[in-house]
């Protein structure tokens, strides 16, 4: 599944990679780090229970789905 992970600040590439790997996930290919009013948002490919896997990480502010959409 694809997720949008909101972090309080960018923890650095090494820490982010480690956190995602331990949650069975990875950064979405070619995803940018999106600044958002002091936070940053990254796109992640991860399991269905990804939110619960990262909720204890101090850097994590929120996890939202990146749901598929349809052209109208």
């Amino acid at each position: 599944m694809k997720w949008l992970l909101t972090l309080k600040s960018h923890p650095g590439t090494a820490r982010l990679d480690e956190m995602l790997r331990s949650a069975g996930s990875r950064l979405e290919e070619n995803a940018a780090i999106i600044p958002m009013e002091g936070d940053v948002v990254v796109e992640v490919e991860g399991p269905a229970d990804f939110p619960s896997r990262v909720k204890e990480a101090p850097e994590v502010k929120a996890v939202h789905p990146s749901s598929d959409m349809t052209l109208y």
Binding site: L4, I34, E37, Y72
Partner: protein, 467 residues
């Protein structure tokens, strides 16, 4: 090529009310009067409408002040007198109320060859007037009519431009020049619809301008050009299936560009969701969580001065699109996610006859309740249709997907004339001047977009300057 016109033959008509009444009462007299007018006009290339009797005119076309003032006063007096009298049984009964008037001219409805129209315009005894199609504007009548499968025929660009009434703004030179519309979609064909910027993900094969001419994004590009042929386009192509992460990145690119050089001015967003997931199971889904990063980014972009138009969706209750899930069909559950944010302009779809297209999603919206904001036109021979760049793979440009860029083009046209308009001002004028307004309803929002009325409103009531 022939056009429907009204031809006014300037000639004195004695007892005009009685003459007209006799044509209504008798087919023979109708034909005699029609023949008489036709012989004055010259019959070649002229076909009179057999359903409309010649109409006498009491006032001169060119003002003759004293004479017309007297006639108007007389009409006013006689009209009031007649209103107080018992009704006469017959049109033919000559009364003091009508007897003393003299007709100045006679008007007939006709279909006339273009060459003859030019010739008739040169004649001093004839005036040629447009005979444009009228539409019933009351909400009840409009709401009662729904265009569902099989849909009515599409219309060409000239027809939809006439319906939008872009002519005055265009005559004044405002066709969207210097305004940039960003199309966030599956990509635009740059060979057909040149793009001058945009964004794609690094190493993505979907580069701005590289999509097929049959793409959904190319359709959107064509429809922006309906009202704003001089607008510039930026292309923000999704890679593969659109998702909110991809949209988030596109909106970030829009924001970056906007803060760098003031463009784009508008984004078109003809995509969204087709079902509503269960709230308890998916509380953070885009449809339920207004603080989803995509919605926050959209609000940032609008705050930076970019008007964002979103399609209402194609899950209206009358004839929803085949990909709609039952959870997302009909009133109250078919306009959602970013498409229902208060700050965006949410666009429903009508056809050229101003009938609601039955798949157009219906409010209330799931975030902001008064959604859609306005309705705009779909089922147009823009990119798709006979002789159009995209061919006939689809019969015409369709969906609220097409209605939205038509509205975005109107917005671009207005911005080219009034470049200081904020997104909120732009939305306000589109709502204020919408046809059939006078309140919000779930099908049409505040009414049907009227480019001419919006332009005229801004000409007479320009928004205050930005301090």
């Amino acid at each position: 090529m022939a056009s429907q016109v009204l031809i006014e033959v300037i000639r004195d008509v004695v007892n005009p009310f009685e003459v007209h009444a006799s044509a209504l009462e008798s087919t023979g007299e109708f034909n005699r009067q029609a023949d008489e007018v036709l012989s004055t006009i010259g019959p070649s290339g002229v076909t009179l409408d057999p359903t409309i009797a010649p109409v006498p005119m009491l006032l001169h076309a060119a003002p003759v002040p004293t004479l017309d003032r007297n006639t108007l006063q007389q009409l006013n007096t006689r009209g009031l007198e007649s209103a107080r009298r018992p009704q006469s049984g017959s049109r033919l009964e000559s009364t003091a109320a009508t007897r003393s008037f003299g007709g100045r001219s006679t008007v007939v409805a006709a279909t006339v060859d273009e060459g003859r129209i030019a010739e008739l315009r040169q004649r001093p005894d004839i005036l040629v007037w447009p005979n444009s199609e009228l539409v019933l504007l009351d909400d009840t009548a409009t709401a009662a009519r729904v265009d569902c499968r099989p849909f009515r025929a599409g219309v060409d660009l000239d027809t939809i431009r006439a319906t939008l009434a872009v002519d005055r703004a265009w005559t004044d030179g405002f066709k969207g020049k210097d305004i940039v519309v960003g199309i966030i979609d599956e990509g635009v064909n740059g060979a057909t619809y040149p793009v001058s910027g945009g964004f794609s993900r690094p190493a993505s094969p979907a580069q701005p301008g590289s999509a097929a001419v049959t793409s959904h994004g190319s359709m959107c590009a064509a429809d922006v050009k309906v009202a704003a042929p001089d607008a510039r386009l930026y292309d923000y192509p999704f890679l593969g299936i659109p998702n909110s992460g991809g949209a988030l990145q596109m909106f970030q690119a829009v924001l970056d560009q906007r803060l760098r050089d003031g463009t784009p001015h508008i984004t078109n967003n003809s995509y969204g969701f087709t079902g509503v997931p269960d709230t308890a199971t998916f509380p953070n889904h885009e449809i339920h969580d207004i603080n989803h990063p995509l919605h926050r980014k959209v609000r940032e972009v609008i705050a930076a001065g970019v008007a964002c138009l979103f399609a209402a969706g194609n899950c209206g209750g009358d004839c929803p699109s085949g990909n709609c899930q039952s959870s997302g069909i009909g009133a109250g559950q078919s306009i959602h996610a970013s498409n229902s944010l208060a700050e965006v302009i949410t666009v429903a779809a009508v056809n050229n006859s101003r009938e609601r297209i039955g798949y157009s999603s219906q409010g209330p919206g799931m975030f902001e309740r008064q959604k859609p904001d306005i309705a705009s036109y779909s089922h147009i021979f823009g990119n798709f249709g006979p002789g159009r760049p995209g061919g006939t793979a689809q019969p015409f440009d369709n969906g609220t997907s097409a209605a939205t860029p038509v509205a975005a083009g109107v917005a671009a046209m207005l911005l080219s004339a009034f470049p200081g308009l904020t997104p909120a001002q732009l939305k306000d004028v589109l709502i204020r001047t919408a046809i059939g307004g006078g309140g919000w309803n779930a099908d049409f929002g505040h009414g049907i977009i009227d480019a001419g009325a919006a332009y005229n409103f801004l000409k007479t009531s320009p928004p205050p300057p930005i301090v």
